[in-house]
Symmetry: C2
Subunit: 407 residues, 2 copies
């Protein structure tokens, strides 16, 4: 494929990123209480004022990342919104947890910051850390950085030590599980906390990063022919639907996480595993040969999944697939990987962007019809779309700046 | 409509009920541990051994009800399966709760009865009571009956007194809500516990029954033009998606619950409200004019619901609609209600039954294509289909036995 083609991809991606940032700048800010409305209808109208904490943290992170690393987004309004979001999070999100002296982060808050719901998982805390660390890099606020690291310590103790602080009762039938989301999130946080850091901070998290990679690799199952979403803590397959569950988009996201590690550690075997197992397999198993697009959930034995939305096409798995295949191509220059990227790109840009009103639809039927037409909801915020566009644009920038290497 | 037409309905319904009972008798029993497998694939194969407590309790109730009230199901194998299911429930479901001296019922158990998950709601307990009361009517076991009543007392105290025993943290943004499921379930349990009972037991629950009816009537909103699923405890509309949510099938189910009360109390005003507000409105607002069938969720202001499955056609709302319209017709003999029944019947029997393998599919796309092809899952068991067929058959029996009244 020619450099011209890569330029074309970049042009389209850059335009989409601009439109997406504009959409959220225009519609999602709460000038009264800070923080972000995330329930935005097709035109951007706020249809619910609840503030979902995952999405608050992610939007702060994304704004700061854009502000900090891309010239055209180094704009005061973006910084101010990120700071107001961060202040809202710090002021309202943390609530006393079940463990003595421990904090939990709420899952959702009222517009003015009253806690509505707390999940018995680690994810609100993860996105809180992501936001605080990235915001501290922009503002230079050392307290905030420290707070991120303290929350990280607590999170590690829940995952690798005693989970009682999460508030789930211990039940005899609830066997401990290695759910891929957990080591993925921790690995993502290690990447965040160590980025650009000195030897000391890298050293601090080295063992944890290796543990995360090993935990993720345990999800390669069935003699290397499938990535399963949940395995036992010993890396064995679990019985029933939970054990047979595949989430192709999630596996692809793990793929590019692993690829980043393989590049940092110059580990060619890990690079191969990331590509062959966490990209090619989910694509082979998860791509809908009839209608195109990635299924949301599949059962490795071909049973019907019990999730009602299993055959829908969601925006975020396609975002992860785009990052994964483009990054894999940029690391290896294998034409087959650029071909995969191109295929996913075609489906994604044909079906998800809303040409009339801007931003992307999030939820399509199996056949590709828009099933839910809002731009933001409890789980779709300013994150997967801009992160994908941002990362792809930067990968393309790097490749196009080094045209001496063959495409 | 002629008696011949009613006979045709009854014939088809009776045949479906026989097929459905056969399917579950053949595939769902666990001879090793008792209780029922509910994750049954299209052919009846067990694809997951987890035992979901809602569905255990419902199957015990349904088996006993069929055994006790219909001659052709007064068969030893049905009684034995119900008793084995009841024994499994009694032995394994109750686990110590958050309140001192209180029990909770688990939501799901392993095949051999180890608790896997506990929900912080009342519903497992509700279906436990339903099972115990009905089983005690068949077996004459007074202990079991007493246990049902004791669990009922605890349930009432959670709903009308202190909900702390449910294990949910009290959060400042989590305002108390009148969710229609709660008074509906309590009313259903009152009907169960008082059925055929003397003045004393009826008296015991009279105030509670009135309270349930009033709580359900609070869901008539928007100047009498919509049934909303969640309202404030004072009966006011709640903000956001939660407040605007409509669940047409659930409203129709509430409709026939209210209709039963109106008949017992000879309350014509309540009969009118049940029909006009809880049947006609959900039908008008919830029926898909383009593809037929009832939507699962709708937003009263026409926003897109955030539930990914909002536009799917599920089996159980159609079951509730069939019971509601047929019962309403049998109480009033208004031809328009039989016409509605006929319309729902046509859609339902065209799309849900599996002519090849028996039983019904549960989950269709908006267009009516089978989206999930299993016969049983975490929320679909031996309950809505047989309850609907059983009740409709009995209503038709009564009407056809009294042919002197005009149809």
């Amino acid at each position: 494929m020619s450099a011209v083609k890569l330029e074309e991809f970049r042009e389209r991606i850059r335009k989409e990123l601009d439109t997406t940032v504009d959409f959220w700048l225009q519609h999602s800010h709460d000038p009264l209480h800070g923080g972000f409305f995330t329930c935005l209808g097709r035109d951007g109208e706020v249809y619910d004022e609840l503030k979902y904490v995952w999405l608050q943290g992610r939007q702060v992170w994304m704004y700061c990342r854009l502000y900090r690393t891309m010239d055209r987004f180094h704009r005061p309004e973006i910084l101010e919104a990120a700071k107001a979001g961060g202040a809202f999070l710090r002021k309202f999100t943390r609530v006393p947890g079940a463990g003595s002296g421990q904090w939990k982060c709420a899952f959702s808050l009222t517009r003015d910051g009253k806690a509505v719901k707390i999940q018995r998982t680690i994810f609100s805390e993860c996105f809180y850390i992501l936001a605080m660390d990235e915001l501290s890099r922009v503002t230079g606020d050392k307290d905030m950085q420290l707070e991120a690291e303290q929350m990280m310590e607590q999170l590690i103790s829940w995952v690798r030590g005693d989970p009682a602080g999460l508030g789930r009762p211990q039940l005899p039938g609830d066997v401990p599980t290695n759910s891929m989301a957990v080591p993925m999130m921790l690995l993502c946080l290690v990447q965040q906390l160590t980025e650009g850091g000195g030897a000391e901070v890298v050293q601090k998290y080295t063992e944890l990063a290796s543990w995360c990679v090993q935990q993720i690799l345990q999800h390669i199952q069935r003699g290397g022919t499938a990535i399963l979403e949940n395995v036992s803590v010993d890396g064995a397959e679990l019985p029933g639907c939970q054990g047979r569950l595949q989430n192709p988009g999630h596996a692809l996201e793990a793929g590019w996480f692993l690829l980043q590690v393989s590049a940092q550690q110059k580990d060619e075997a890990l690079q191969r595993t990331a590509i062959d197992k966490f990209m090619e397999l989910p694509y082979q198993n998860g791509w809908d040969k009839e209608h195109g697009g990635l299924f949301y959930f599949l059962d490795v034995d071909g049973h019907c999944p019990t999730q009602l939305e299993w055959n829908m096409k969601l925006w975020w798995p396609h975002c992860e697939a785009l990052i994964a295949f483009l990054m894999a191509y940029s690391h290896t220059r294998e034409p087959a990987l650029l071909h995969r990227f191109s295929e996913v790109f075609e489906y994604t840009f044909k079906n998800f962007p809303d040409a009339q009103k801007g931003e992307w639809f999030g939820y399509l039927t199996q056949e590709g019809k828009v099933a839910l037409d809002f731009k933001g909801g409890p789980f779709k915020g300013f994150f997967h779309v801009p992160r994908c566009l941002y990362m792809c644009e930067r990968i393309l920038d790097d490749m196009l700046a080094n045209k001496d290497r063959a495409f």
